[in-house]
């Protein structure tokens, strides 16, 4: 492939479209923000900081969507994990690492419940995960915490929430960026990642060719639950309490980012670079609204509108693909 062709392909790619949107948003807010503070180091760090939880949620959901399933539960699972962390840490003498392990296990359990419903009982994944998340995990958070926000006072949690590398980069930013890098490489380069794409393309064909979509499905739901729980732990550490609404509303922007990332429903396509860019777009946009002092009541409208925008982009690029291969795909 020649260099010219490579450039041409890049200009046609979704990554390029996303970069353009990102640059446009950045330019807009930079121009209109007071003292051009939008692009200050402090503000950029704060955008990255606001992305941390979304990154964790998006990784799990991305893998599932590429695989051809869906997950709306991790936000609620995060809340449940946060509430569990606060309750156990404040009420018992169990060492902090064990408590964290319990939280992650809790996430895995919720993920496995999703997987059972989807694989064993053939419930469509979005309704199954919505039910498990918005009823089971949410109810669990209420029950374990007795309906109160329990304060956390623990040095490790403090460190997790406030430590900054070189006094600039928060440790959670490093954790999340490292995670998305690792998962990105796993997805792009390993046998495991390849299997996800192949199953997402056509599960039955993949099964008949010797892959094990069922096992993969359990793994990916468990993984998504675990990452959701991890995000919940980080969230609780930031608030220093197990908040009852916690990360409930976080699944939604994560899904938006996933679709922005060119990870289409129906499975089999997309990558982590797009997902990361999608998250940058959403968080830059929300951050911009905040520094321009737009009422927080608008966030729901903004995130819905961004999701519609992401879907529209997906539609446009799918139309191009459809035209190329003449309609009938899997």
């Amino acid at each position: 492939m020649g260099a010219a062709e490579r450039v041409k392909n890049f200009l046609k790619s979704k990554t390029f479209t996303l970069l353009c949107i990102l640059v446009a948003i950045m330019a807009f807010f930079w121009y209109f923000s007071a003292n051009h503070s939008f692009l200050s180091v402090r503000n950029i760090t704060s955008i990255l900081y606001s992305m941390v939880l979304f990154i964790l949620f998006s990784i799990g959901v991305s893998l599932l969507v590429i695989f051809g399933e869906f997950d709306l539960s991790p936000g609620y699972v995060g809340t449940a994990a946060g509430a569990t962390l606060a309750t156990i840490l404040s009420g018992t003498g169990i060492p902090w690492f064990l408590v964290m392990l319990i939280c992650l296990l809790l996430g895995i359990v919720f993920g496995l419940i999703n997987a059972v419903l989807v694989n064993k009982f053939r419930v469509q994944s979005f309704i199954a995960t919505l039910a498990v998340g918005s009823f089971l995990a949410k109810g669990f958070s209420y029950i374990i915490s007795g309906g109160r926000a329990i304060a956390i006072d623990h040095p490790v949690i403090d460190w997790l929430a406030s430590y900054k590398l070189w006094d600039v980069v928060p440790v959670t930013v490093i954790i999340s960026v490292a995670l998305i890098l690792v998962y990105g490489i796993v997805l792009a380069k390993t046998q495991f990642g390849r299997s996800i794409y192949l199953c997402g393309g056509n599960k039955e064909a993949a099964r008949l060719a010797g892959l094990d979509p069922k096992k993969l499905s359990y793994l990916l739901f468990a993984n998504s639950g675990m990452l959701g729980a991890m995000a919940g732990v980080l969230f609780a550490s930031r608030l220093k309490s197990g908040n009852l609404d916690g990360t409930n509303s976080y699944s939604f922007p994560a899904v938006t980012a996933v679709i922005f990332g060119g990870i289409s429903f129906g499975g089999g396509s997309g990558n982590m670079v797009g997902c990361f860019l999608g998250l940058l777009i959403i968080n830059a946009f929300n951050n911009g609204l905040t520094i321009m002092r737009v009422s927080p009541n608008w966030t729901g409208v903004a995130s819905g509108a961004l999701l519609i925008l992401a879907l529209t982009l997906d539609y446009l690029s799918n139309r191009r693909v459809r035209r190329q291969i003449g309609g009938k795909t899997s």
């Binding site: 393309g201 039955e204 099964r207 008949l208 089999g268 795909t329």
Partner: protein, 496 residues
């Protein structure tokens, strides 16, 4: 005035294949015109254009001299055209009368007139001499009765043009007799009838004109009364079919028993037993739906087994999933290449490497070079026509898709002992078919046991060493190639 249906210079391309290439012919009222050709000749595409399901790239459909372009099935129905599809388009959860009167529910002010529907449906049922009630749920009827209901749908409309796509495939003799009676009656009423079938006997029994297609082009049009089977076959395949088989270099060496299946019982098949030897090509003949595919899926671990015994190289095995079967050296090329064989959105390379991904790694990561080498070898070995292994398999022609799947199972990283080919030549052109036959015997020569399922009798009779015949989920006969004749196998696969 006699009615006239004309196809004028119709062309239609799909990715990787020119389905129709400048086809022109006409069909007259009061006659049955057969559309004849092998799988992939373009018959179904023509019918889909006639029904408005798809639109031609060029050319037009003329009815009584008037140019018609059907943008949707609705327009085609309005122009008095009915097409009976091979894939039945029924609503399994609804009853007979609603299926028959799908697009005309006899509404008065929007309210369905059930008693009227019931009465009219009963009239049609009587004409069709079918033992069903208008209120029976269609999904619970037998396949043959479902097919008759599909035909009722078109009959009820009283359309001037009626096209049948392989209507008799799931029918028994009794229903075929009724159907033919109805077709003759429609003919006498001056209707234009198009009739697609693979069964030669039927063609001579019921049709007046024959239109022969091959690889999307019109070969010739003939009067049925002025031709014979031999001439038709020659027109269809473009050469004497005998050559294909006599040029085949057969594998003559057979080894010990490789795969042994005893009293296999699943939801679909009953008491199935057979043996496969090393180097043997074992044919499975029978009608569509006889249970051949289901036997193989069970052996392969794709469907659950109720009881029975499977031995591979003398050792009892029972595979829970295809992965385990593949690990033991069994490979399956499914009948439905596009939905079950290939992952259409992925490249040739990705499709070839699936079962051996773990052998193509360098450290933790997939090795591009190893994968590319594997795929390139398949492309070279089977002369798959493609500019590179990057090409997505959706863009390949049927033959090249099949070769990609064969490439997957016969790479040097695989240890395939038993190769199951389910309708491997479906929808691919004659030239490639001959290549596939040769491949089958080349595989056999390396000691692989090949199971070859095919619904095309000449092919399964001539390529296989031994033939197993199935009917209604049971084995009804076993013959060697020397003993097998078409009459014998047809009798085993159709007679009670």
């Amino acid at each position: 005035m006699e009615k006239l249906l004309e196809f004028k210079n119709i062309s239609k391309a799909f990715p990787g294949v020119q389905a129709l290439d400048n086809v022109s012919f006409s069909a007259r009222g009061g006659a049955v015109s057969a559309l004849l050709g092998e799988n992939g000749a373009g018959k179904s595409t023509l019918l889909k254009i006639l029904s408005g399901d798809i639109q031609p790239d060029a050319g037009s459909v003329c009815i009584d001299g008037e140019d018609r372009r059907f943008a949707s099935p609705y327009q085609s129905i309005k122009a008095s055209v009915s097409v009976i599809y091979q894939e039945r388009q029924l609503l399994g959860a609804m009853n007979v009368m609603e299926n028959v009167f799908l697009d005309d529910l006899h509404e008065k002010f929007g309210i369905v007139n059930r008693s009227e529907l019931k009465r009219k449906t009963q009239e049609i049922i009587d004409i069709f001499e079918l033992p069903v009630k208008p209120t029976d749920i269609v999904g619970r009827l037998s396949v043959a009765h479902q097919q008759m209901i599909e035909i009722m749908k078109a009959y009820r409309r009283g359309s001037d043009i009626i096209a049948f796509d392989e209507p008799t495939a799931p029918l028994t003799d009794k229903e075929i007799a009724i159907l033919f009676k109805l077709i003759r009656e429609l003919k006498e009423r001056g209707k234009i009838i198009l009739y697609v079938s693979h069964r030669m006997a039927e063609i001579f029994q019921i049709t007046d004109d024959i239109i022969v297609l091959k690889d999307g082009q019109l070969v010739t049009t003939l009067r049925t009364s002025g031709t014979n089977e031999r001439e038709l076959v020659k027109a269809m395949v473009g050469r004497d079919i005998g050559d294909t088989y006599s040029n085949l270099k057969r594998n003559e060496i057979m080894g010990d028993v490789l795969l042994e299946v005893k009293n296999l019982e699943t939801d679909y098949v009953h008491d199935v037993s057979f043996e496969l030897r090393r180097g043997e090509v074992l044919g499975f003949a029978g009608l569509v739906g006889a249970g051949r595919t289901e036997v193989m899926r069970a052996v392969f671990g794709a469907d659950p087994i109720i009881s029975g015994e499977i031995k591979l190289e003398g050792k009892p095995v029972r595979f829970k999933k295809p992965k385990d079967a593949i690990g033991s050296g069994i490979a399956l090329c499914p009948e439905d290449r596009k939905d079950q064989g290939l992952i259409l959105g992925r490249s040739i390379r990705d499709n070839v490497s699936i079962p051996v991904l773990s052998k193509l790694k360098r450290g933790l990561f997939m090795s591009y070079r190893a994968e590319e080498a594997l795929a390139a070898e398949a492309v070279r070995k089977y002369s798959i026509r493609t500019p590179s292994t990057d090409k997505r398999t959706v863009e390949l022609s049927g033959g090249n898709q099949q070769k990609t799947i064969l490439g997957r199972w016969t790479s040097d990283k695989m240890v395939t002992k038993v190769l199951i080919l389910d309708e491997p030549t479906k929808g691919i052109d004659v030239g490639t078919k001959a290549e596939v036959y040769q491949m089958i015997h080349d595989f056999a020569a390396t000691g692989i046991g090949v199971i070859f399922i095919s619904s095309e009798l000449p092919e399964v009779l001539n390529v296989s060493d031994n033939i197993i015949v199935m009917q209604n989920g049971r084995v009804t006969g076993r013959v060697s190639r020397q003993e097998a004749t078409e009459e014998l196998v047809v009798a085993m696969s159709m007679l009670e």
